[in-house]
Assembly symmetry: C2
Homo-oligomer: 384 residues x 2
């Protein structure tokens, strides 16, 4: 059986990857009187007086919703809410297994921005946080921004920020390995959707000074037609000398390429045109923008991908479980830029100096230290 057949068989066997289990036993009338009526009325009364008590007496303390409208699921595109469920359940599994966070998958039967926002606001009381997932750009930007203003619990779009955090962590270590500096490092981000834009933003926030966004038609500049509002806005921060041209043109003299785009679109010639000790993050899944062996042959010093079968796997499972674990434990109301930077620094720091080399810039997804280190970094940056 290949991996697809195995996955299908196992998903049928699981018949849903999650279970809702009870922390309390109800084996007797006495149990029932405590967990349910009449005893349950007492925590209700206490919360009715102060809704913050919900964090003491209900699942809100440690439960988030993983919410998608099924509009941009993995590489599968707009497959809708029913077909998105296996991914959201998988995400919930990872939240629990890696971060100890209870996560409930919710797939929405609407792709209308206003309806999505209203629905999430309406269901928010039960949850301590909202993880948005696989919502297409540019709607995802507006939905997240609006929800952050409307809700008093953290809202985090993992495709954007989880990805950006792990890329920044890897980039920090790649700079150390290559001796490059964030101030001088010329960065190309290929793919101007949710992940690409968030990566560009977080690299800039960290202090990278030269970032250029590209997409399928080449360099995004003021002369580019049909940009969405977020891509327009990014032009005030990226490609400041307003270069034009193809993706190949962007490569010339670049130091760091970050691809969140499509398989096999980067050639050896493009990599060869980069500065010495070039860094390649080729994260298209499952087939990267360029295979690591080709990139190395063309002169790249560090090559990272999204895959577990090559060195330097960039996988946001090292970020999101710890992010929400920390946010919930510290009762954060927002995931701020400071927390994201701190999380990236914490992840990068898990690769110790003596182990750091061009084939080892990322911690392993299964490194048991990851979620606590990230969670502590987040908690240390909660503004009170």
């Amino acid at each position: 059986m290949n991996i697809n057949e195995q996955a299908l068989k196992m998903h049928e066997e699981w018949n849903g990857k999650l279970e809702i289990t009870s922390k309390c036993t109800v084996k007797s009338r006495e149990d029932l009187a405590i967990a349910y009526t009449p005893g349950v009325a007492e925590p209700c009364r206490v919360i009715a007086k102060d809704k913050n008590e919900a964090y003491r007496y209900t699942i809100k303390a440690n439960t988030i919703a993983v919410i998608s409208d099924g509009s941009a699921v993995l590489g599968l595109g707009n497959i809708g809410p029913y077909a998105a469920m296996p991914v959201m359940e998988g995400k919930a599994v990872l939240f629990k297994e890696f971060g100890g966070v209870n996560a409930i998958p919710i797939c929405l039967d609407t792709q209308d921005t206003e309806e999505i926002i209203k629905t999430i606001v309406a269901i928010a009381p039960a949850f301590g946080g909202i993880n948005l997932e696989d919502i297409s750009a540019p709607r995802c930007f507006e939905i997240e921004e609006r929800l952050k203003k409307l809700l008093d619990i953290p809202v985090f779009h993992d495709d954007q920020h989880g990805t950006a955090i792990v890329v920044l962590a890897g980039a920090m270590n790649a700079l150390k390995v290559t001796g490059k500096t964030k101030e001088d490092c010329k960065v190309i981000v290929n793919g101007a959707g949710s992940a690409g834009i968030a990566i560009a933003k977080l690299l800039l926030t960290y202090g990278f000074c030269h970032v250029t966004l590209c997409d399928i038609n080449g360099i995004i500049s003021k002369d580019y037609k049909n940009l969405n509002w977020m891509q327009e806005q990014m032009l005030t921060l990226t490609n400041l000398d307003n270069k034009n041209g193809s993706l190949a043109d962007a490569f010339v003299g670049a130091d760091l390429f970050v691809g969140v785009s499509a398989p096999n679109i980067v050639t050896k010639e493009m990599v060869a045109s980069m500065n010495k000790d070039a860094i390649i993050f080729a994260m298209a899944n499952p087939t990267p923008e360029i295979m690591p062996d080709l990139a190395k042959e063309a002169g790249a010093k560090v090559v990272a991908t999204g895959r577990s079968d090559f060195p330097n796997q960039v996988n946001n499972v090292v970020a999101f479980p710890g992010i929400f674990k920390g946010a919930l434990e510290g009762r954060a109301t927002q995931i701020t830029e400071e927390m994201k930077l701190a999380a990236a620094i914490a992840i990068a720091g898990l690769v110790e100096a003596q182990d750091l080399n061009e084939d080892n810039i990322m911690p392993q997804p299964f490194d048991p230290r990851v979620s606590d280190v990230v969670s502590n970094a987040v908690k240390a940056n909660i503004r009170k």
Copy 2:
């Protein structure tokens, strides 16, 4: 410690009565490749072609949402969505412990009928059923009716139908004990909210011919002012000779009193004015409409309450877990009148003839046979 103090302490210890647990282990890269990317894409693709496959590959198969707007919680009234959570979590515990059904509590930050309907429709894809809970009348009737038309999964308002099913089950056995017939039995239902109206309806569906609804101001008749649309509608089925008067007037010559109203509002004199071998269901919680000893002294033959410390506890925990268990297993799209009647008959049937007497008309909530018997009754009545 009294029960309230104990309940508060335990709720703090639990810090949420539910946990989301994973059915699959993700201890290795291979595990991750099956439960998450890249393998997870395969069930996604299959469901994208046919959304019914969601029942094979996702939690939809065995997961319902328990949804409230916090507008009519227990006897506590309109305490809002945060304070309603302990009750909804408790309900989810009971669904799992008694029926093996995974239930997710969702408390809505809106009490607007249209917004509630839209929100529930929007989040429905992940769920195999919707259990509405503690939504005030008459909005609950419209919300349930509209959702039944809009959704292709069962929608069930437990305060209405769960209560009605167990009352009907108890009434069936009380008729046997007293030798009364449904055709001749004169019924008063006191409380014309969600439970009272649903009880009256189901008793009529079963074949009771004389049902009169009362509320705090007395008998509901055509002369009664300020009825809501559902109470108006009930007048086409109840109080057919259009009697007027107080609750005490309604008692004269009645056979069966069903109270879903307020503590201590029924006197011995009222009970004494009923027909011989009167039946009293005094289900106000925690203090019944009349205490069992007083009702018995006044001549009642059968007295049931909602309490576990008196004989004949009428508790809808014997109904709702099995109802959804059966509906999910049989992939029902609706909970029909036939299913409700079959469930009531099944529950009544658990008290075997030789054990049936005035102090034993209801099965015990912890009777391990209950949920299977109810579930099988529901499944046997699914229209294909």
